[in-house]
Protein backbone atom coordinates (compact mmCIF):
# COMPACT_ATOMS: atom_id res chain seq x y z
CA UNK A 1 0.00 0.00 0.00
CA UNK A 2 1.51 3.31 -1.00
CA UNK A 3 1.65 6.27 1.35
CA UNK A 4 -0.67 9.24 0.85
CA UNK A 5 -0.04 12.23 3.08
CA UNK A 6 -3.11 14.00 4.43
CA UNK A 7 -1.52 17.46 4.39
CA UNK A 8 -0.78 17.48 0.65
CA UNK A 9 -2.72 18.20 -2.53
CA UNK A 10 -2.45 15.94 -5.57
CA UNK A 11 -2.97 15.70 -9.33
CA UNK A 12 -4.36 12.82 -11.34
CA UNK A 13 -0.86 12.57 -12.84
CA UNK A 14 0.40 11.35 -9.45
CA UNK A 15 2.18 14.52 -8.38
CA UNK A 16 1.94 16.11 -4.95
CA UNK A 17 1.79 19.83 -4.18
CA UNK A 18 2.62 21.47 -0.87
CA UNK A 19 2.12 25.05 0.24
CA UNK A 20 5.35 26.64 1.52
CA UNK A 21 5.87 29.46 4.01
CA UNK A 22 6.28 31.96 1.19
CA UNK A 23 2.99 33.23 -0.16
CA UNK A 24 2.09 31.90 -3.63
CA UNK A 25 5.01 29.45 -3.60
CA UNK A 26 4.24 25.74 -3.90
CA UNK A 27 6.57 22.77 -3.81
CA UNK A 28 5.94 19.69 -5.95
CA UNK A 29 7.13 16.11 -6.37
CA UNK A 30 5.82 12.72 -7.44
CA UNK A 31 3.84 10.47 -5.13
CA UNK A 32 4.86 7.25 -3.43
CA UNK A 33 2.41 5.44 -5.71
CA UNK A 34 4.11 6.93 -8.78
CA UNK A 35 7.64 6.03 -7.70
CA UNK A 36 6.56 2.50 -6.90
CA UNK A 37 4.88 2.09 -10.29
CA UNK A 38 7.95 3.46 -12.10
CA UNK A 39 10.49 1.29 -10.32
CA UNK A 40 14.11 2.36 -9.88
CA UNK A 41 14.38 5.94 -11.15
CA UNK A 42 17.52 6.53 -13.24
CA UNK A 43 17.10 9.93 -14.89
CA UNK A 44 15.21 13.19 -14.41
CA UNK A 45 14.67 15.96 -16.91
CA UNK A 46 13.53 19.12 -15.09
CA UNK A 47 12.58 22.54 -16.47
CA UNK A 48 14.98 25.48 -16.17
CA UNK A 49 14.92 28.00 -13.34
CA UNK A 50 12.73 31.04 -14.07
CA UNK A 51 10.92 29.11 -16.79
CA UNK A 52 7.24 30.03 -17.07
CA UNK A 53 4.93 27.04 -17.10
CA UNK A 54 1.20 26.49 -17.66
CA UNK A 55 -0.93 24.03 -15.77
CA UNK A 56 -0.99 20.52 -17.33
CA UNK A 57 1.78 21.17 -19.86
CA UNK A 58 4.66 18.70 -20.10
CA UNK A 59 7.65 20.21 -18.28
CA UNK A 60 10.04 17.30 -18.06
CA UNK A 61 10.38 13.57 -17.76
CA UNK A 62 11.21 10.91 -15.29
CA UNK A 63 12.84 7.66 -16.38
CA UNK A 64 13.23 4.31 -14.75
CA UNK A 65 15.14 1.32 -16.08
CA UNK A 66 12.06 0.17 -17.95
CA UNK A 67 9.98 3.23 -18.69
CA UNK A 68 9.70 6.96 -19.27
CA UNK A 69 6.91 9.18 -17.91
CA UNK A 70 6.11 12.81 -18.58
CA UNK A 71 6.22 15.33 -15.79
CA UNK A 72 3.30 17.78 -15.90
CA UNK A 73 2.98 21.29 -14.51
CA UNK A 74 0.52 20.97 -11.62
CA UNK A 75 -0.04 24.75 -11.58
CA UNK A 76 0.81 27.73 -13.79
CA UNK A 77 3.59 30.07 -12.76
CA UNK A 78 7.36 30.41 -12.67
CA UNK A 79 9.99 27.88 -11.56
CA UNK A 80 11.85 29.52 -8.69
CA UNK A 81 13.72 26.52 -7.22
CA UNK A 82 14.90 23.23 -8.60
CA UNK A 83 16.25 20.28 -6.64
CA UNK A 84 19.47 19.79 -8.59
CA UNK A 85 20.79 17.22 -6.09
CA UNK A 86 18.31 14.78 -7.62
CA UNK A 87 19.96 15.03 -11.01
CA UNK A 88 23.05 13.35 -9.53
CA UNK A 89 21.13 10.83 -7.49
CA UNK A 90 17.69 10.22 -9.00
CA UNK A 91 17.18 7.15 -6.79
CA UNK A 92 16.18 9.56 -3.99
CA UNK A 93 12.81 9.69 -5.77
CA UNK A 94 12.31 6.06 -4.75
CA UNK A 95 13.55 6.38 -1.19
CA UNK A 96 12.05 9.71 -0.17
CA UNK A 97 9.36 10.83 -2.63
CA UNK A 98 7.69 13.27 -0.21
CA UNK A 99 10.75 14.81 1.45
CA UNK A 100 14.24 14.74 -0.06
CA UNK A 101 12.93 14.20 -3.57
CA UNK A 102 10.88 17.37 -3.95
CA UNK A 103 11.40 18.39 -7.57
CA UNK A 104 10.49 22.05 -8.03
CA UNK A 105 9.10 25.13 -6.36
CA UNK A 106 6.64 27.15 -8.38
CA UNK A 107 5.55 30.73 -7.78
CA UNK A 108 2.00 30.41 -8.99
CA UNK A 109 0.20 32.92 -11.19
CA UNK A 110 -3.37 31.61 -11.08
CA UNK A 111 -4.63 30.96 -7.59
CA UNK A 112 -7.94 29.65 -8.94
CA UNK A 113 -6.14 26.63 -10.41
CA UNK A 114 -5.68 25.26 -6.90
CA UNK A 115 -9.34 24.26 -7.00
CA UNK A 116 -8.58 21.74 -9.72
CA UNK A 117 -6.20 19.80 -7.46
CA UNK A 118 -7.26 16.70 -5.58
CA UNK A 119 -7.44 16.24 -1.83
CA UNK A 120 -5.93 13.13 -0.22
CA UNK A 121 -9.22 11.15 -0.27
CA UNK A 122 -9.87 11.92 -3.91
CA UNK A 123 -6.30 10.98 -4.77
CA UNK A 124 -6.50 7.73 -2.84
CA UNK A 125 -9.32 6.58 -5.10
CA UNK A 126 -7.11 6.81 -8.19
CA UNK A 127 -3.82 5.69 -6.66
CA UNK A 128 -4.35 1.96 -6.88
Amino acid sequence: MSEIRPELLYTKEHEWIQKTKSPRVFRMGITDFAQSALGDVTFLELPELNQNISQDEVIGSIESVKSVSDLFAPLSGKIIKRNDALLDDPSTVNTSPYNDAWLLEIEISQESELEKLLGPEAYESIAQ
Binding site: D40, E63, K66
Partner: protein, 356 residues
Protein backbone atom coordinates in the same frame (compact mmCIF):
# COMPACT_ATOMS: atom_id res chain seq x y z
CA UNK B 1 -6.59 -14.93 -20.06
CA UNK B 2 -2.89 -15.00 -19.21
CA UNK B 3 -1.20 -18.34 -18.65
CA UNK B 4 0.64 -19.07 -15.43
CA UNK B 5 3.89 -20.87 -14.73
CA UNK B 6 4.18 -23.52 -12.04
CA UNK B 7 5.69 -20.86 -9.74
CA UNK B 8 2.94 -18.27 -10.23
CA UNK B 9 1.50 -18.56 -6.71
CA UNK B 10 4.97 -18.22 -5.23
CA UNK B 11 5.57 -15.00 -7.19
CA UNK B 12 2.29 -13.58 -5.90
CA UNK B 13 3.17 -14.60 -2.33
CA UNK B 14 6.35 -12.49 -2.64
CA UNK B 15 4.37 -9.46 -3.89
CA UNK B 16 6.27 -9.53 -7.17
CA UNK B 17 5.26 -6.89 -9.67
CA UNK B 18 3.51 -8.96 -12.34
CA UNK B 19 2.98 -8.15 -16.00
CA UNK B 20 1.59 -9.93 -19.03
CA UNK B 21 4.48 -11.04 -21.23
CA UNK B 22 4.10 -13.28 -24.29
CA UNK B 23 0.77 -14.53 -22.97
CA UNK B 24 2.04 -15.31 -19.46
CA UNK B 25 1.56 -13.48 -16.18
CA UNK B 26 5.24 -13.08 -15.30
CA UNK B 27 7.22 -11.48 -12.44
CA UNK B 28 8.86 -8.29 -13.69
CA UNK B 29 10.57 -7.56 -10.40
CA UNK B 30 10.49 -8.57 -6.74
CA UNK B 31 12.48 -5.99 -4.78
CA UNK B 32 13.80 -3.72 -7.53
CA UNK B 33 15.33 -4.10 -10.96
CA UNK B 34 18.68 -2.53 -10.01
CA UNK B 35 19.21 -4.62 -6.87
CA UNK B 36 18.26 -7.79 -8.77
CA UNK B 37 20.55 -6.84 -11.65
CA UNK B 38 23.47 -6.22 -9.29
CA UNK B 39 22.77 -9.43 -7.42
CA UNK B 40 23.29 -11.41 -10.64
CA UNK B 41 26.49 -9.52 -11.47
CA UNK B 42 27.96 -9.88 -7.96
CA UNK B 43 26.34 -12.97 -6.44
CA UNK B 44 23.69 -15.19 -7.96
CA UNK B 45 20.08 -14.80 -9.03
CA UNK B 46 17.27 -17.21 -9.83
CA UNK B 47 14.77 -16.57 -12.64
CA UNK B 48 11.54 -18.32 -13.57
CA UNK B 49 11.73 -18.56 -17.35
CA UNK B 50 9.13 -21.28 -17.73
CA UNK B 51 7.30 -19.15 -20.28
CA UNK B 52 9.98 -20.12 -22.80
CA UNK B 53 9.19 -23.07 -25.05
CA UNK B 54 10.98 -26.38 -24.64
CA UNK B 55 10.71 -28.86 -27.50
CA UNK B 56 12.13 -32.38 -27.82
CA UNK B 57 13.09 -33.73 -31.23
CA UNK B 58 13.90 -37.40 -31.64
CA UNK B 59 14.65 -39.66 -34.56
CA UNK B 60 17.47 -40.70 -36.83
CA UNK B 61 16.81 -37.80 -39.20
CA UNK B 62 17.03 -35.20 -36.39
CA UNK B 63 20.40 -33.77 -37.35
CA UNK B 64 19.59 -33.71 -41.04
CA UNK B 65 16.22 -31.99 -40.64
CA UNK B 66 17.47 -29.52 -38.02
CA UNK B 67 20.22 -28.61 -40.45
CA UNK B 68 17.57 -27.74 -43.04
CA UNK B 69 16.16 -24.90 -40.96
CA UNK B 70 18.71 -23.56 -38.46
CA UNK B 71 21.78 -21.49 -39.32
CA UNK B 72 24.19 -23.55 -37.19
CA UNK B 73 25.81 -26.66 -38.59
CA UNK B 74 24.25 -29.13 -36.16
CA UNK B 75 26.93 -31.73 -36.96
CA UNK B 76 29.26 -29.57 -34.89
CA UNK B 77 27.14 -29.95 -31.76
CA UNK B 78 28.39 -33.05 -30.00
CA UNK B 79 26.36 -35.08 -27.52
CA UNK B 80 26.16 -33.20 -24.22
CA UNK B 81 26.69 -29.82 -25.85
CA UNK B 82 24.52 -26.93 -27.00
CA UNK B 83 24.72 -24.01 -29.44
CA UNK B 84 23.01 -20.70 -30.07
CA UNK B 85 21.41 -20.50 -33.49
CA UNK B 86 18.65 -18.91 -35.56
CA UNK B 87 15.74 -20.01 -37.71
CA UNK B 88 15.32 -17.79 -40.75
CA UNK B 89 12.67 -17.30 -43.41
CA UNK B 90 13.42 -17.40 -47.15
CA UNK B 91 14.17 -13.66 -47.08
CA UNK B 92 16.82 -14.22 -44.42
CA UNK B 93 14.75 -12.61 -41.67
CA UNK B 94 14.82 -14.21 -38.23
CA UNK B 95 11.76 -16.28 -37.34
CA UNK B 96 13.31 -16.91 -33.93
CA UNK B 97 16.61 -17.35 -32.16
CA UNK B 98 17.03 -20.47 -30.08
CA UNK B 99 19.45 -22.79 -28.37
CA UNK B 100 19.79 -26.35 -29.65
CA UNK B 101 20.84 -28.91 -27.04
CA UNK B 102 22.05 -32.38 -28.02
CA UNK B 103 21.21 -34.94 -25.31
CA UNK B 104 21.91 -38.03 -27.42
CA UNK B 105 23.00 -38.69 -30.98
CA UNK B 106 19.35 -38.56 -32.07
CA UNK B 107 17.72 -36.61 -29.25
CA UNK B 108 17.71 -32.83 -29.29
CA UNK B 109 16.06 -30.13 -27.20
CA UNK B 110 15.21 -26.67 -28.47
CA UNK B 111 14.49 -23.65 -26.28
CA UNK B 112 12.32 -21.13 -28.11
CA UNK B 113 11.18 -17.63 -27.26
CA UNK B 114 7.89 -17.54 -25.39
CA UNK B 115 6.15 -15.23 -27.84
CA UNK B 116 7.10 -17.36 -30.85
CA UNK B 117 6.90 -20.89 -29.52
CA UNK B 118 3.52 -21.81 -30.99
CA UNK B 119 4.34 -20.47 -34.46
CA UNK B 120 7.84 -21.98 -34.19
CA UNK B 121 6.34 -25.39 -33.48
CA UNK B 122 4.10 -25.12 -36.55
CA UNK B 123 7.11 -24.06 -38.63
CA UNK B 124 9.23 -26.94 -37.36
CA UNK B 125 6.46 -29.49 -37.94
CA UNK B 126 6.23 -28.22 -41.53
CA UNK B 127 9.95 -28.89 -42.01
CA UNK B 128 9.32 -32.53 -41.15
CA UNK B 129 6.85 -33.05 -43.97
CA UNK B 130 7.58 -36.77 -44.21
CA UNK B 131 7.04 -37.29 -40.46
CA UNK B 132 10.44 -38.78 -39.89
CA UNK B 133 10.79 -37.24 -36.44
CA UNK B 134 9.09 -37.43 -33.09
CA UNK B 135 8.53 -33.81 -32.07
CA UNK B 136 7.22 -33.34 -28.54
CA UNK B 137 6.10 -30.03 -27.09
CA UNK B 138 7.05 -29.78 -23.41
CA UNK B 139 5.58 -26.26 -23.19
CA UNK B 140 3.08 -27.22 -20.50
CA UNK B 141 5.09 -29.91 -18.74
CA UNK B 142 8.57 -28.62 -18.03
CA UNK B 143 9.73 -25.48 -16.22
CA UNK B 144 13.00 -23.72 -16.88
CA UNK B 145 14.78 -22.12 -13.91
CA UNK B 146 17.77 -19.92 -14.72
CA UNK B 147 20.47 -19.81 -12.03
CA UNK B 148 22.86 -17.01 -13.02
CA UNK B 149 25.79 -15.25 -11.42
CA UNK B 150 29.43 -15.72 -10.39
CA UNK B 151 28.44 -17.80 -7.34
CA UNK B 152 26.27 -20.21 -9.34
CA UNK B 153 29.05 -22.81 -9.84
CA UNK B 154 29.80 -22.84 -6.09
CA UNK B 155 26.14 -23.22 -5.25
CA UNK B 156 25.76 -26.07 -7.73
CA UNK B 157 28.89 -27.68 -6.29
CA UNK B 158 27.30 -27.56 -2.81
CA UNK B 159 24.39 -29.48 -4.31
CA UNK B 160 26.61 -32.16 -5.84
CA UNK B 161 27.11 -30.78 -9.34
CA UNK B 162 30.87 -30.57 -9.69
CA UNK B 163 32.35 -27.31 -10.92
CA UNK B 164 33.87 -28.83 -14.04
CA UNK B 165 31.38 -27.91 -16.73
CA UNK B 166 31.95 -25.40 -19.49
CA UNK B 167 29.52 -22.97 -21.04
CA UNK B 168 27.13 -24.78 -23.39
CA UNK B 169 27.53 -28.17 -21.71
CA UNK B 170 24.27 -30.07 -21.26
CA UNK B 171 23.80 -32.88 -18.75
CA UNK B 172 21.10 -35.11 -17.38
CA UNK B 173 21.35 -35.58 -13.63
CA UNK B 174 19.59 -35.28 -10.30
CA UNK B 175 19.48 -32.18 -8.17
CA UNK B 176 18.35 -32.74 -4.55
CA UNK B 177 16.93 -36.05 -5.71
CA UNK B 178 14.88 -34.42 -8.47
CA UNK B 179 15.51 -35.54 -12.05
CA UNK B 180 16.67 -32.55 -14.11
CA UNK B 181 18.58 -31.56 -17.19
CA UNK B 182 21.13 -28.83 -16.63
CA UNK B 183 22.15 -26.60 -19.51
CA UNK B 184 25.14 -24.37 -18.82
CA UNK B 185 23.60 -21.54 -20.79
CA UNK B 186 21.92 -18.25 -19.95
CA UNK B 187 20.95 -14.77 -21.04
CA UNK B 188 22.83 -12.63 -18.52
CA UNK B 189 26.48 -13.07 -19.54
CA UNK B 190 27.31 -14.53 -16.14
CA UNK B 191 28.27 -18.07 -15.19
CA UNK B 192 25.43 -20.37 -14.37
CA UNK B 193 22.88 -22.63 -15.91
CA UNK B 194 19.31 -23.19 -16.95
CA UNK B 195 17.61 -26.12 -15.28
CA UNK B 196 14.84 -28.08 -17.02
CA UNK B 197 12.58 -29.59 -14.37
CA UNK B 198 9.13 -31.17 -14.49
CA UNK B 199 6.40 -28.75 -13.41
CA UNK B 200 5.47 -31.07 -10.52
CA UNK B 201 8.93 -30.52 -8.99
CA UNK B 202 9.52 -26.91 -10.01
CA UNK B 203 8.39 -25.25 -6.77
CA UNK B 204 10.30 -27.71 -4.56
CA UNK B 205 13.49 -27.13 -6.53
CA UNK B 206 12.97 -23.36 -6.69
CA UNK B 207 12.61 -23.10 -2.91
CA UNK B 208 15.53 -25.46 -2.30
CA UNK B 209 17.80 -23.40 -4.56
CA UNK B 210 16.82 -20.20 -2.77
CA UNK B 211 17.49 -21.80 0.59
CA UNK B 212 20.83 -23.32 -0.42
CA UNK B 213 21.80 -20.06 -2.10
CA UNK B 214 21.02 -17.83 0.85
CA UNK B 215 24.65 -17.93 2.02
CA UNK B 216 25.61 -16.56 -1.39
CA UNK B 217 23.00 -13.76 -1.16
CA UNK B 218 20.78 -15.33 -3.81
CA UNK B 219 17.69 -13.38 -4.87
CA UNK B 220 14.72 -14.23 -7.04
CA UNK B 221 15.00 -11.98 -10.08
CA UNK B 222 12.39 -10.79 -12.53
CA UNK B 223 12.24 -10.25 -16.25
CA UNK B 224 13.18 -6.54 -15.99
CA UNK B 225 16.63 -7.42 -14.63
CA UNK B 226 16.93 -10.19 -17.22
CA UNK B 227 16.45 -7.56 -19.93
CA UNK B 228 18.98 -5.05 -18.57
CA UNK B 229 21.50 -7.87 -18.00
CA UNK B 230 21.21 -9.17 -21.55
CA UNK B 231 21.38 -5.67 -23.01
CA UNK B 232 24.64 -4.90 -21.19
CA UNK B 233 26.09 -7.95 -22.92
CA UNK B 234 24.63 -6.93 -26.28
CA UNK B 235 22.51 -10.07 -26.61
CA UNK B 236 19.64 -9.65 -29.07
CA UNK B 237 15.96 -9.86 -28.13
CA UNK B 238 13.66 -11.30 -30.77
CA UNK B 239 10.90 -8.86 -31.68
CA UNK B 240 13.25 -5.91 -31.16
CA UNK B 241 16.84 -6.48 -32.27
CA UNK B 242 16.02 -9.35 -34.59
CA UNK B 243 12.72 -10.12 -36.30
CA UNK B 244 11.29 -11.65 -39.49
CA UNK B 245 12.27 -8.35 -41.15
CA UNK B 246 15.84 -8.26 -39.81
CA UNK B 247 18.51 -10.73 -40.88
CA UNK B 248 21.16 -12.08 -38.50
CA UNK B 249 23.80 -10.49 -40.75
CA UNK B 250 22.24 -7.06 -40.30
CA UNK B 251 21.93 -7.68 -36.55
CA UNK B 252 25.65 -8.41 -36.27
CA UNK B 253 25.16 -12.14 -35.70
CA UNK B 254 27.15 -13.41 -38.67
CA UNK B 255 29.17 -15.56 -36.25
CA UNK B 256 26.00 -17.60 -35.62
CA UNK B 257 25.46 -18.36 -39.31
CA UNK B 258 27.38 -21.30 -40.82
CA UNK B 259 26.97 -19.98 -44.33
CA UNK B 260 29.15 -22.70 -45.86
CA UNK B 261 26.93 -25.61 -44.82
CA UNK B 262 24.49 -27.23 -47.26
CA UNK B 263 21.29 -25.56 -48.19
CA UNK B 264 19.14 -24.27 -45.34
CA UNK B 265 16.13 -21.98 -45.22
CA UNK B 266 17.25 -18.43 -45.95
CA UNK B 267 20.76 -19.35 -47.13
CA UNK B 268 20.72 -17.55 -50.48
CA UNK B 269 19.25 -14.38 -48.97
CA UNK B 270 21.89 -14.45 -46.23
CA UNK B 271 24.67 -14.88 -48.78
CA UNK B 272 23.50 -11.67 -50.43
CA UNK B 273 23.39 -9.92 -47.06
CA UNK B 274 26.96 -11.01 -46.33
CA UNK B 275 28.04 -9.49 -49.65
CA UNK B 276 26.00 -6.34 -49.29
CA UNK B 277 24.04 -5.91 -46.07
CA UNK B 278 21.20 -3.36 -46.40
CA UNK B 279 21.61 -2.31 -42.78
CA UNK B 280 24.17 -2.82 -40.05
CA UNK B 281 24.13 -3.29 -36.30
CA UNK B 282 25.16 -0.32 -34.20
CA UNK B 283 26.07 -0.28 -30.53
CA UNK B 284 25.78 3.07 -28.76
CA UNK B 285 26.95 4.36 -25.41
CA UNK B 286 26.71 7.73 -23.73
CA UNK B 287 27.89 9.22 -20.49
CA UNK B 288 24.39 10.43 -19.74
CA UNK B 289 21.77 8.38 -17.95
CA UNK B 290 18.88 9.19 -20.25
CA UNK B 291 18.20 5.98 -22.16
CA UNK B 292 17.59 5.58 -25.87
CA UNK B 293 14.38 3.56 -26.30
CA UNK B 294 13.08 1.18 -28.95
CA UNK B 295 11.98 3.05 -32.07
CA UNK B 296 13.86 6.31 -31.47
CA UNK B 297 15.56 7.75 -34.57
CA UNK B 298 19.32 7.60 -35.14
CA UNK B 299 21.05 10.38 -37.11
CA UNK B 300 24.49 10.43 -38.75
CA UNK B 301 27.05 13.23 -38.60
CA UNK B 302 25.27 15.14 -41.39
CA UNK B 303 22.02 15.06 -39.41
CA UNK B 304 20.41 12.61 -41.79
CA UNK B 305 18.12 9.98 -40.28
CA UNK B 306 19.85 6.64 -40.90
CA UNK B 307 18.06 4.19 -38.65
CA UNK B 308 16.42 3.50 -35.33
CA UNK B 309 17.07 2.11 -31.87
CA UNK B 310 16.02 -1.53 -31.43
CA UNK B 311 16.78 -1.80 -27.67
CA UNK B 312 18.11 0.61 -25.09
CA UNK B 313 18.32 1.08 -21.37
CA UNK B 314 20.09 2.68 -18.48
CA UNK B 315 22.81 0.10 -17.78
CA UNK B 316 22.94 -0.50 -14.01
CA UNK B 317 26.43 -2.04 -14.05
CA UNK B 318 27.87 0.83 -16.10
CA UNK B 319 25.91 3.77 -14.68
CA UNK B 320 25.06 5.22 -18.07
CA UNK B 321 22.87 4.70 -21.11
CA UNK B 322 23.43 2.06 -23.78
CA UNK B 323 21.55 1.13 -26.91
CA UNK B 324 21.57 -1.03 -29.99
CA UNK B 325 20.20 -0.01 -33.32
CA UNK B 326 19.97 -0.74 -37.01
CA UNK B 327 21.36 1.83 -39.43
CA UNK B 328 21.99 2.09 -43.17
CA UNK B 329 25.13 0.08 -43.84
CA UNK B 330 26.84 2.99 -45.63
CA UNK B 331 26.25 5.43 -42.78
CA UNK B 332 29.10 6.69 -40.63
CA UNK B 333 29.27 8.24 -37.20
CA UNK B 334 29.42 10.06 -34.97
CA UNK B 335 25.77 9.25 -34.43
CA UNK B 336 23.10 10.95 -32.37
CA UNK B 337 19.75 9.75 -31.09
CA UNK B 338 16.65 11.89 -30.91
CA UNK B 339 15.37 11.59 -27.37
CA UNK B 340 12.35 13.71 -26.49
CA UNK B 341 12.93 16.19 -29.32
CA UNK B 342 16.64 16.64 -28.58
CA UNK B 343 19.48 15.08 -30.53
CA UNK B 344 21.83 13.50 -28.02
CA UNK B 345 25.32 12.48 -29.21
CA UNK B 346 26.31 8.86 -28.65
CA UNK B 347 29.59 7.04 -29.15
CA UNK B 348 29.71 3.85 -31.17
CA UNK B 349 30.60 0.76 -29.19
CA UNK B 350 31.23 -2.91 -29.83
CA UNK B 351 29.57 -5.51 -27.68
CA UNK B 352 29.61 -6.47 -24.93
CA UNK B 353 28.90 -3.05 -23.45
CA UNK B 354 29.63 -4.49 -20.02
CA UNK B 355 32.91 -6.42 -20.08
CA UNK B 356 33.09 -7.58 -16.46
Amino acid sequence: MLKQTALHDWHLSQNAKMLGFAGYDMPIQYTGVISEHECVRKHVGLFDVAHMGLLRIEGQASQEILNDFVTKNVEQISVGRAAYTLMCNQQGGVIDDLIVYRAEENEFYLVLNAGNKDSDLAHILAQDSEHKLRITSLFDEVSILALQGPMAPQLLNDLGIEDKYRAFDFIKTELLGIPVQIAFTGYTGEKGCEIFVGNENALTLWKALLEAGSKYHIQACGLAARDSLRLEKGYPLHGQDISPDISPIEAGLKWAVDIKKNNFVGKSALEKHIEQPPRKWLGLISEIKQAPRTGMSIFDSTDKKVGHITSGTFAPSLGHAIGMGLVESTSTGPYSVEIRNKKIPFESSKRPFYKG
